[in-house]
């Protein structure tokens, strides 16, 4: 089934073509990988990418700054409210209502649902809401009886209910805070603790929604938010006690706290930035200076963000004379989010969205994978092997039948099947050897260019070579089939070579419509050519992206090759030979 003599004869007849195709392709590949690797063609892309990364970081920093600022002010505001309540003696009264109503609501619930032994979160929520409703009714009744309390309960219904709900939660945390222990001081610290937990929970949930967040990072950021809140409390306490030491009465001044909040946040970012560079002892003087500069930049950015935020709030909530506008709650929160949006805008946020998208895509485009994957391995690198396969496949059968030289082989006791199998083996082995050398060349070239750290890693370059080999295997099968079917070189070359070159040209044209070309340069209609080419089954994009779509396409290429070879072999057995 295999003739060594014929194999040798084929080798002698085709080695020049083989050496030419192999050498030229290897040289091209080496140049493409090594030279382009050292030219740093991805620099512009990397810079562009950095702009977008920096913009993202800026937005992140600014958002954080404003979040911290808001949190600080809220904490202060909260403490102010709690202190006011406690100063007016209302804290203990309110606490009394809350504890008794909560206890009775809990008992009622347990009575109504005797089968529930352990209460779930949703059960607690029902209890809390029931307690809130009854407490609210009590307070409303109290105010009707004693109108002098109305001053201290200057709340909307929603606000009051929210406060009460918060108190219920606090009571849940501190069940023992009843009777004698329920002094206003204890209540205040319990409330502060509760607020701290609330801040922690919120921050934790928010942090988890962010990309590549782990429970650890979420915990860390939630902890820092909690600290920030307690720092805010401390700041308030300090202001208050300072005022008492000075002998005056403490007056809550919002603007004053805003300034404090700004300073505090800026300083916090400065410290954080410094920490991220390492501790003092580890850094050289130069590094220390650099770190300080970077920290300062972070501080300035945070300051800018907060100032812009304040400016926009001012702009959106006051009229031209600086007097507050009459806004509904909804309008007010809209104004706040608008102010936040303006303050956190990065440099890229200021460009038109379409341009920004195009620029971002350009930044994400990988020029290496475009040149090596889509241009070299699918077009330039296939050309020489294609020429080799077209000529050799024709010469192995049709050429010899056409000239008549096949008569010498077939006048010896050599079966036609032996001839086709030997020639097929030669074609496949020569292609395999060609791509084995190409693989070695490419691996060495990647190694020279930096190994796995290079834009294309070893496994990708191996897959590229495997794909190119399979593509050539399918094409070789087709050319071989044509060579086996036709007795005339003109038909074998015309159809086998014609279809192959057509495929290659379609791949070139299709490149302009494929997804590897950035949208600014892409012509969608050209994608049509990709459906006309067998090379389209060689999916370098999928290999680069790491998806597995290339696998079944490889299988199809292999299948096409095998089917073509089999058809050719069987046809050659049965046809008339003009020898």
């Amino acid at each position: 089934m295999f003739s060594k003599a014929l194999f040798k004869q084929s080798m002698k007849a085709n080695w020049v073509k083989w050496v030419m195709a192999t050498a030229s392709t290897c040289i091209m590949l080496a140049i493409v990988i090594i030279v382009l690797g050292n030219l740093g063609i991805n620099n512009i892309r990397d810079q562009l990418k950095e702009v977008f990364t920096q913009a993202d970081q800026q937005t992140y920093l600014k958002t954080n700054a404003i979040d911290s600022y808001d949190l600080y002010l809220n904490a202060v505001d909260f403490e102010n409210g709690v202190i006011m309540l406690s100063d007016s003696g209302m804290a203990t009264v309110l606490w009394g209502f809350v504890t008794s109503n909560y206890d009775s609501a809990e008992q009622t619930f347990k009575r109504e649902n005797p089968d529930i032994t352990e209460l779930s979160e949703s059960d607690y929520e029902i209890i809390r809401n029931n307690a809130v409703d009854s407490t609210y009714t009590q307070i409303v009744g109290l105010i009707e009886m004693f109108p002098q309390y109305a001053e201290n309960f200057n709340f909307e219904e929603d606000e009051l209910k929210q406060l009460l709900y918060f108190l219920m939660l606090t009571y849940e945390d501190n069940k023992d805070l009843t009777g004698d222990t329920a002094t206003s001081e204890n209540i205040i610290s319990a409330l502060k603790e509760r607020f701290g937990n609330y801040v922690y929970d919120n921050a934790y949930a928010t942090a988890l929604t962010q990309e590549d967040a782990t429970e650890e990072t979420a915990h860390a950021s939630a902890m820092s938010a909690r600290e920030l809140a307690s720092d805010a409390f401390a700041c308030y306490d300090q202001q208050k006690s300072q005022a008492e030491v000075d002998g005056g009465t403490f007056v809550y001044d919002n603007d004053n706290f805003k300034t404090l909040a700004n300073d505090y946040v800026n300083d916090m970012f400065y410290q954080q930035a410094l920490l991220s560079f390492g501790t003092d002892g580890e850094l050289s003087e130069e590094e220390q200076t650099e770190a300080e500069q970077m920290a300062l930049a972070a501080k300035v950015m945070s300051n800018t963000a907060i100032t812009t935020y304040e400016f926009w709030i001012q702009e959106l909530t006051t009229d031209e004379e600086g007097l507050p506008l009459e806004l509904t709650d909804e309008e007010y929160s809209d104004a706040l989010s608008k102010a936040r949006e303006e303050a956190t805008k990065s440099i890229t946020g200021q460009i038109d969205a379409e341009v920004s998208n195009a620029l971002e895509e350009l930044g994400n485009m990988d020029i290496y994978s475009l040149i090596i994957g889509s241009i070299f391995y699918r077009i330039a690198g296939l050309l020489m092997p294609m020429v080799f396969v077209i000529m050799t496949a024709n010469g192995l059968l049709a050429g010899q039948v056409d000239s008549g030289s096949m008569a010498y082989v077939l006048s010896t006791p050599t079966k036609r099947r032996t001839v086709t199998l030997t020639q097929m083996t030669y074609l496949i082995v020569s292609l395999f050897a060609m791509f084995a050398l190409l693989t070695v060349t490419s691996v060495i070239a990647v190694w020279i260019s930096g190994g796995n750290a290079f834009a294309i890693n070893y496994s990708q370059i191996l897959l590229f070579n495997l794909g190119a080999f399979l593509t050539m295997f399918a094409i070789a099968g087709f050319c071989f089939m044509c060579s086996a079917i036709f007795n005339r070189t003109k038909y074998s070359l015309g159809i086998g070579g014609g279809v192959t070159i057509f495929s290659l040209v379609c791949t070139i044209l299709g490149l302009f419509g494929s997804s590897v070309v950035p949208s600014a340069m892409r012509i969608g209609a050209m994608d049509f050519f990709n459906y006309l080419s067998i090379v389209s089954l060689y999916d370098t994009v999928s290999i680069m992206a790491g998806s597995l779509a290339y696998l079944w396409k490889f299988a199809i290429l292999l299948g096409i090759g095998i089917v073509c070879f089999i058809v050719g072999i069987f046809r050659f057995d049965k046809k008339d030979l003009p020898l």
């Binding site: 060594k4 002698k12 007849a13 008549g404 010498y408 082989v409 010896t412 006791p413 050599t414 020898l579």
Partner: protein, 394 residues
């Protein structure tokens, strides 16, 4: 008798009357069988069937009892082949080609190949592409013969060889024949065929018209003698003796007669009384024989053509009359057709046989007209001559 190669109803129709049709022949062991025929008559197609390169539409060929299409590999163990078209594989020189071929044949001992190289004065180190046609032919012959198998199939193997080399090649063939090999050869050279073959088949338009046994032709019971008389009187006198006249050239007072070998003494006795200018034996060879056969075939075809045409137009009586006329003049025509076919054989390759055939049929028609005319004139002359002669005698 055991046949080495046997064709039964072998048919391959390429359309347009091309191909081979219902060929039947068989070649015995040790026999040398020749194929002769015009270009494109189907010799090569037949050989390709024997080699198992083509699949017969109908009928079959067997070699050593094996179907040559189904067992194309097995039969190659017995067959060596010199193809008609010489194109070598893509190799550098004759040596590497012979080596590759030996490898394919599984041939270890190259002694016989070297003997053949010497015999044919071949320089196998020459570049294959730069070889002359004769050199290529010699290389192909060595490549085929070196296997020293039982059956030799040669498709016009001596084309391109110089006359001396042709002789050597013929000698070589005779040597092979002596070894007891069965040889099937197609050739354009009657000389070669005559020297080597036992039987020769004439193929014309895909049909075997005749298979001639060379021993029959060589040892014919009859011989032709050409006699020229010094005077017209004697010439005419001789003609009245009712010998079978094959050819009559009254212009030169020449006559060619066919005579049984046993009657030769009687002829000499008769001729004793005549004054002859010369007398020679006209050799009755293969070429002559086939020319005659071919001429008859042309005539037959032409008649068929005419008949089929005239059947529609004219009445039966006319046809009958014409047929009789034809029969009468057949002898005379034959001689002319022979000349015609001689021309035909020496013609180089024709581009379109079909056209050529038509043209020849036309030519034959015009020649026939001429003959008819000259025949009438001759009759008139004869009448006059006989009157004159009669007077003279009186």
């Amino acid at each position: 008798m055991e046949y080495v190669i046997e064709a039964k109803h072998l048919t391959k129709d390429y359309g347009d009357k091309r191909g081979i049709f219902d060929l039947n022949f068989s070649i015995a062991k040790g026999e040398v069988f020749g194929f002769v025929g015009t270009n494109g008559s189907g010799k090569t197609t037949t050989i390709r069937h024997i080699m198992g390169f083509l699949k017969a539409q109908e009928g079959s060929v067997t070699v050593m009892g094996l179907d040559s299409w189904k067992n194309s590999c097995e039969i190659k163990k017995y067959v060596e082949y010199v193809p008609g078209e010489i194109a070598f594989p893509d190799l550098n020189d004759g040596n590497s080609f012979l080596k590759a071929q030996a490898e394919l044949l599984g041939l270890q001992n190259m002694d016989y190949a070297n003997y053949l190289v010497d015999r044919l004065q071949l320089d196998p180190s020459a570049n294959l592409k730069r070889m002359s046609k004769g050199m290529k032919q010699k290389t192909a012959i060595v490549a085929a013969f070196m296997a020293d198998k039982d059956i030799l199939i040669l498709d016009e193997a001596n084309t391109g060889l110089d006359p001396l080399m042709r002789e050597t090649f013929t000698e070589l063939l005779l040597e092979e024949k002596k070894k007891g090999k069965t040889i099937l050869m197609s050739s354009q050279s009657f000389d070669e065929l005559e020297q080597v073959c036992d039987r020769v088949a004439l193929i014309f338009n895909g049909h075997i018209i005749d298979i001639a046994k060379l021993s029959d032709i060589k040892n014919s019971e009859y011989k032709d003698y050409k006699i020229e008389f010094t005077t017209r009187e004697e010439y005419l006198k001789f003609k009245r003796l009712k010998y079978e006249i094959v050819r009559d050239q009254e212009k030169y007072n020449q006559v060619t007669i066919k005579i049984k070998n046993s009657d030769i003494n009687r002829l000499f006795n008769v001729l004793k009384n005549y004054h002859l200018k010369f007398m020679s034996e006209v050799k009755y060879n293969l070429e002559k024989y086939f020319k005659k056969v071919l001429a008859e075939e042309y005539l037959r075809q032409e008649e068929e053509l005419k008949q089929s045409k005239e059947k529609d137009i004219s009445e039966k009586t006319k046809e009958e009359i014409k047929f009789e006329k034809h029969e009468n003049k057949r002898q005379v025509k034959k001689a002319n057709e022979e000349e015609k076919s001689e021309k035909f054989f020496n013609k180089p390759k024709v581009k379109a046989e079909k056209k050529e055939n038509k043209r020849q049929i036309k030519e034959i028609k015009t020649i026939k007209k001429d003959i008819l005319k000259s025949d009438k004139k001759y009759k008139k002359k004869m009448k006059k001559d006989s009157k004159k002669g009669g007077k003279n005698v009186q």
